[in-house]
Symmetry: C2
Subunit: 350 residues, 2 copies
């Protein structure tokens, strides 16, 4: 793969520049293009590649905003008749439909690296951005095996985990696991706009978790939602049916209990860490002073115990300079961890 | 306060036993009662107090399920004519209405310690449970100052942060910041029940955050929701209006953008750590092998840098034994932290 001939990255935003940086680390000759010359200059400055034109790229990565993607893919297929062309748009069906009927489609392989950041632009880019992330590849029926294989190899080279599915399946899946959760997080947060501060002062970690993604870039999400409207609409309509049922029966213990139980079952359907089966975890709570160094002492003691941390969070607390750290560990190791931390003078409990 | 005369705790579940354990640590004579003799025995075994009857308690803490609270408060006020009586139910207006008109109401002070656990029962109890948590106190108009002061002192003694508001305001506030987020988390998770595994394999941290609280005990939440139905219904109706607007205009960039912007503004209304103003944070991402000890090395190096961790999470990744740790720090310290961690051979980026 280090002999991969020149690659052209079209679009020097967060994703495009990150792809370019990662390819450069593998010694690949990367050329950069963007409508905005300042973006290209910033990406070049970061070492992401060259601003010189390229004559015969083996691969073109289209990393422009979703609404501009299909036109850029078509242009790349026409301009570079030997190149495999991929794009990174987060909605795939509309791109596939908009490029259909054009020339060179056997060389087009849509993809979606599921990575991002709360920041955008070339300065936020990182060669590490794709490590461990799913990278969905959505080849149309006409794509050659060689083209699909090349895009898979690039995903693996960048540390991602490639997964092949068709474009409509991808859009249905991300509507369910990403776009609709974004919408419901947003609707929860929107209710807080006019809330009195005394009400908001009672906010706990649950509210912060539910609304975290609602803090994301509205412009990016506006494009995603309007582009995947059909699949999102289908799921949201089902949510509205559940919501109607609940609003009409908020005093009915059977109805409310049934909805809550369905939600609990749903959480258990989410795969566990590293894509494996969900493991039974128990949370060990530890009080930690809110000062530099305290967490490093805590984790040194956790490390000594030999108990692996499966997940953790710091709970934000009201009105005192102490944090509650919640350490999730395998259920059969929790008592041992509490005992070891207590020996070390931590206030710990499960 | 260590001279506080005997206290009776009615209900030896998670909250009651935790209150009892914490009072015992302050040398207070605690008596325990529960309909279930096994719960009392377990709480006594844990050192939470005595199962012997008490004749003249100064304080009665009613910690029974929400639906049984009002009757238990009335009984306590009648049985112990010198005692201050408080309860810990998480919905306050219905309790206040159900006890109204009874005897001894000048000695009744409702309260709500905002603490919990994913576990329940006396074995899950901890004297530390209330540390740093809000403890809302909702005195009715007729309550004496001395009674209110006693409940506030107990909250402070247990490490909580007392906040006084009227019962209906409390219920409106928790509907907004706790109950409605729970419902929307549940409705998001309920859509996953029949999802194909290949779709769920694309789940990221966003979905996990939005649906985390949906994994909570359905029986407890059924009681909370049915008891606070009116306030929850008002907020959910507003959510449904927003949802209807969105479903009808999912391809309209202005409508979708407006909803997303309202959500982002809402997230900024949530108070920051320790109840202060929100601080601008930046996330530094660090790759960490998923082995015991790796996190302790990382936090030792973060500690050396002198940069304080404001929040952190471990991102669950698909298919590889490495974790992505997201460390939120003050925006003006992020570059420094990246530089220091990179010196120490961590793969870190913002």
């Amino acid at each position: 793969m280090t002999s991969l001939p020149p690659t052209l990255v079209v679009g020097c935003g967060l994703i495009g520049t990150s792809v370019a940086l990662a390819l450069r680390e593998h010694g690949i000759d990367v050329h950069l293009r963007d409508r905005d010359p300042e973006h290209v200059a910033a990406a070049v400055e970061r070492g992401a590649g060259s601003a010189e034109p390229v004559h015969d790229p083996a691969l073109v990565v289209v990393a422009v905003p979703p609404r501009a993607t299909a036109a850029a893919v078509r242009e790349a297929l026409e301009t570079y008749p030997a190149a495999v062309v991929t794009d990174v748009a987060s909605v795939k069906g509309s791109v596939a439909r908009d490029v259909a009927g054009g020339a060179g489609l056997d060389r087009y392989v849509g993809s979606h690296p599921m990575a991002g950041s709360e920041r955008s632009g070339p300065l936020a880019a990182s060669a590490r951005l794709f490590e461990g992330r799913p990278w969905v590849i959505t080849p149309a029926a006409g794509a050659t095996d060689a083209a699909v294989r090349l895009v898979e190899e690039v995903a693996v080279m960048l540390g991602a985990v490639p997964t092949v599915m068709d474009a409509d399946t991808h859009d249905r899946a991300v509507a369910l696991v990403s776009h609709v959760p974004q919408v419901l997080s947003t609707l929860t947060a929107a209710r807080l706009v006019d809330a009195p501060p005394a009400h908001l002062a009672l906010a706990g970690q649950g509210l912060r978790d539910v609304t975290r993604v609602a803090g994301s870039d509205p412009a990016l999400w506006r494009d995603i939602i309007t582009t995947n409207a059909e699949e999102i609409g289908a799921v949201l309509t089902a949510v509205r049916d559940d919501l109607d049922t609940l609003i009409d029966a908020l005093r009915d213990r059977d109805v409310v209990g049934g909805v809550l139980e369905a939600g609990r079952v749903g959480t258990r359907a989410i795969p566990g860490k590293h894509g494996g089966e969900p493991v039974e975890l128990v949370v060990v709570n530890v009080q930690v002073p809110d000062t530099p160094g305290a967490l490093s002492r805590l984790f040194a003691h956790v490390g000594e115990s030999g108990v692996n941390i499966e997940d953790l969070r710091i709970d934000h607390e009201l009105g005192r300079p102490v944090g509650l750290v919640e350490i999730a560990v395998a259920a059969d190791r929790a008592d041992e961890l509490v005992a070891r931390l207590t020996e070390r003078a931590w206030s710990a409990y499960r």
